[in-house]
Symmetry: C2
Subunit: 242 residues, 2 copies
């Protein structure tokens, strides 16, 4: 790599349910082959109508218990999105989603919702969401790009969130340098690099949370391949932190 450029995806309109995100991006961005187009989960979920109205939610007893000073209906939505609760310190819940991602509130978020009283859920199948955007971009622009759908996740042991990939299409997400030897002759073990997550984080640096830049273009890599973000989930048998 000689140089990497990270360009904000600016000028997109407010996204509504049913919007064709690929078409919106194609209309505003000048894409090149091998670009990685990074799209914030929030606008993908909105386009897909992955939104819940709090008024429609009846909280369970467990949700009331977890809610502390917060709205128990939000906790109810979190519980329904969770396959497993990993840690709870009410009202904070770290949960494993049905996709296998471990994150706060099972990815359920009130900020950036379309209206007050609404919660945004993660896409049902974020890899499929990424693939759809990629296909639309190919059809509309003729460019062969990688696409990542990203969200901000906390980490164990470290402060602050970093953006990670929850959906991917048309690119490698893990680059394996095992078996490669360094100059002295040592094998570089344990070095599978989660490039998709590093790209997601790089994109976040130009996106920000409030400026209304819901994506970025990362230019200068060549990662064509068939990786999916679900490959980033640690398989149960190898997971030391279940």
């Amino acid at each position: 790599v000689t140089e990497l450029r990270v360009l904000p995806l600016a000028g997109l309109p407010e996204v509504r349910e049913g919007d064709d995100l690929g078409a919106l991006i194609a209309a505003t961005a000048e894409l090149e082959d091998d670009d990685v187009v990074v799209v914030a989960q929030k606008i993908v979920s909105k386009a897909e109508g992955r939104v819940v109205r709090l008024a429609d939610v009846e909280p369970s007893r467990k949700a009331v218990e977890l809610a502390a000073d917060q709205d128990p209906r939000k906790l109810e939505v979190v519980l329904r999105q969770a396959r497993r609760i990993v840690r709870e310190r009410p009202p904070l819940v770290i949960a494993e989603t049905r996709h296998g991602f471990v994150c706060a509130s099972a990815g359920v978020d009130a900020s950036n919702a379309p209206e007050l009283g609404m919660l945004v859920l993660l896409p049902e199948d974020p890899d499929a969401s990424a693939a759809l955007i990629r296909d639309r971009l190919a059809a509309l622009t003729g460019r062969v790009v990688g696409v990542l759908v990203t969200d901000s996740f906390g980490r164990a042991w470290r402060q602050g969130t970093t953006d990670v990939a929850i959906g991917a299409a048309g690119m490698e997400v893990l680059v394996d340098v095992r078996g490669v030897r360094d100059r002295v002759g040592y094998e570089l073990h344990a070095t599978t690099i989660a490039v998709a997550d590093e790209i997601a984080g790089a994109a976040e640096l130009v996106m920000g949370k409030v400026e209304g830049v819901p994506g970025a273009i990362v230019r200068g890599l060549r990662l064509s391949g068939e990786g999916r973000a679900r490959d980033l989930v640690m398989p149960r048998a190898r997971d030391l932190f279940r």
Copy 2:
């Protein structure tokens, strides 16, 4: 941010104990004010002589127990660098270092060591290492930059490593957007962004593990401040994963 550029720090000579890293970087890179200069931990440790010769190490009983099919002397070095063992599945050890970082082998690494039979340790005080490089760069180039010292860490629940900041100087490492309200009026809670880790990951994308590019310049951010990488360690009281 209008655009972020990530430039590989190429052309550095092989680093030896006692080398002045700031001077080596100043001689090869064209810096600008507000650049973030990212330096791989491995060359910082080498310059600081943070190297152990396996031949000088006598393994303890615990080290033999943890080693499985690996060299018990390496496990002994890991145990000495660890404040606490977080998980063990011999020969894999996840440990908390004296700095508070949780990572594989307490940051002890054989790859990219100066010679076979040597292990490289993390710097004693990576924030101080970053500050020293920053001061040398300021003195030699007149440029006011941020500096990160980075290493590749695994993550709980996710596959692959991402580079994170273990040392920092002259820049914010966490950007707090709590209290900021989105368009609909929701407060963006829980959104302290670990920008230093995102920058570290972005830099890794141009560094690679074997091409001999031990750093990068990240250009286009304005993060001047006094953050330190130790601020990225989750305080014990808030850590749900101890």
